[in-house]
Amino acid sequence: MFESFQHLITGFGIALTIHNLFYCLMGAIIGTLVGVLPGLGPIAGIALLIPATYNLNATSAIIMLAGIYYGAMYGGSTTSILLNVPGETASVITCIDGYQMAQRGRAGPALATCAIGSFIAGSIAILGLVFLAPPLAEAALAFGPPEYFSLMVFGFIVLCNVTGSSLIKSLMMAVIGLIIGTIGLDPVTGVARFTFNSMSLLSGIEFVAVAIGLFGIGEVLANVEKPLEFLEGTVLVPRLRELYPTLQDFKKSIGPILRGTGIGFGVGLVPGPAPVIATYSSYMVERKISRNPGEFGKGAIEGVAGPESANNSACQSAFIPLFVLGIPFAPPTAILLGALLIHGVSPGPLMIGQHPALFWGVIASMYIGNFILLILNLPFVPLFANILRIPKKVLLPLVILFCITGMYTVNNSVFDIWMMLLFGGIGFLIRKLDYEGAPLLLALVLGPKLEVAFRQSLMISHGDFRIFLDRSISMGFLLATLLFLLIPVFRIILKSAGKGGGPTGSIGGNKG
């Protein structure tokens, strides 16, 4: 524990250099912007900025990209409160009470509570990251290919269970992602697969093209489809002096903030779109234990403080599986894994020992980033809110231009732009058909790892599938997977029993 503390101080030394501070600030500002602008979430934001980090060292690059991720979480709440439009999916819950507070002229305290809650949650979660990651990395050294395979299967099933309207449809997207992930050279034998004699496909489908296509272009096209009058909206811009919460507000919020931090931290450690589940769970808990549950939905500050803190805390703890196991459990961390690989860093149990400057530098930068975001978000909220006044008909063409430029710079290749456009079309189509892009993207990034783990396991066991059950950690993950698969079935049985045997609308979890 003392050792971790020492390393953290070294990390602060790295993060506090002028160079890294600049990139942390850039990440925080870009992240807030990305979060504020509806239609441009953290996934497309990080993917777009990856090419801009090519000339940087890995530490500065990840400091900036991580800043975009947690910065977007701060920014996302601004649009939820002022516009009733969530900037990204994790802010959906904040809309409920945040917008109601804004309607009652209390937008300022709502925004300030978000920023303060996020800061407290982020700071506590980073401490958890510091002290939990090293021992977990040591434990993860016991993981062999069967454990990694079962863990990844578990991750997919949990993610599919909680995203979208239907488990089957999310699973289909994950399998499509896995198939797309097999395009290119076979990681074990080097045979070309599904390349159809194209040289450009030999290195596989560029995941940045899929990310920008599905989440950037797809979202823009979905917006373009709406009639022109839907592209405009009215924005409430609070004045600076209205921003500060009263002592009463603070007293009401501190409990939800601390509980939200705990819930978020726990949820971030397990597979799934952590911020979404964390905000949802925190809201439910706060409503359940509140003395005035009737206030919820009508502008209760607890309904803003809890979920926003949970959101930020989950966002920070989601870095633990990424750094310690090398396995991202949600698309934003999957994109960060891609960025780490591009910079020659392979996350996993050995990363803390092999790249201590990067690991501790990035963690310390998150703390600094949280502080920067607090400063950015309190006095500059009116400024960010004004950005929302840019009409969408101006914003959407600009997003397209940024997507094309960003995509070209990845490999200086027009082929990648075509790929991005193809996935943009797919992204548009899956939105129309009510599918989710998140499982596809995660499967694309994890696919090659999953296949290698699967084939290595079978090589070790001479083709015997019992290897996945004979090893206790692997069996534990598979049992948990089975449990998650059975939850929707139980839900259907319970529902139909309650209704007297009628069929149910959808299987799957809450809307992501």
Binding site: M172, I179, T189, L221, K226, T405, V414, I430
Partner: protein, 153 residues
Amino acid sequence: MSRDEVIGGTLAFFFGAAAAYFSLKMPIGTFRAAGSGLFPLGLGILLMGLSLVLLIKVYVQAKATREKTTPSEVPRSAKQVILFVSAITVATLLFKPLGYPLVSFLLLFALLRILGMRRWVYSLSLSLLTATGVYFLFVLWLQIPLPKGWIGL
């Protein structure tokens, strides 16, 4: 809704079938020493199975509840999307021959017009200003090598 489900399920089924078909042309090997086709073959079959489950579920539900047609809450403009995508496609085709600065200006101008910016002066000046700003940002400041095209900028 149900029609969308059928379209989605059918498309996914054929995607899975294509993946399985092309995987069979690769070495399959055994479980002990898997060839490069085994994993995608398994995935193709799995996707076909999942799509079938979805299609059966949709069929059973449609029979049980009788199709409920819910009118779309927002009117959609397919023409706008087609024009928008066409403009991006043409811009990508001209990306190398015309060069980045010119293509970015033309693309912005076209997209602004498609999205309903009626005044020529506004859309021209806005696209010129933005394209210049983006050129300064990417080419001059970030020094990203973007195609110069025949205008040579």
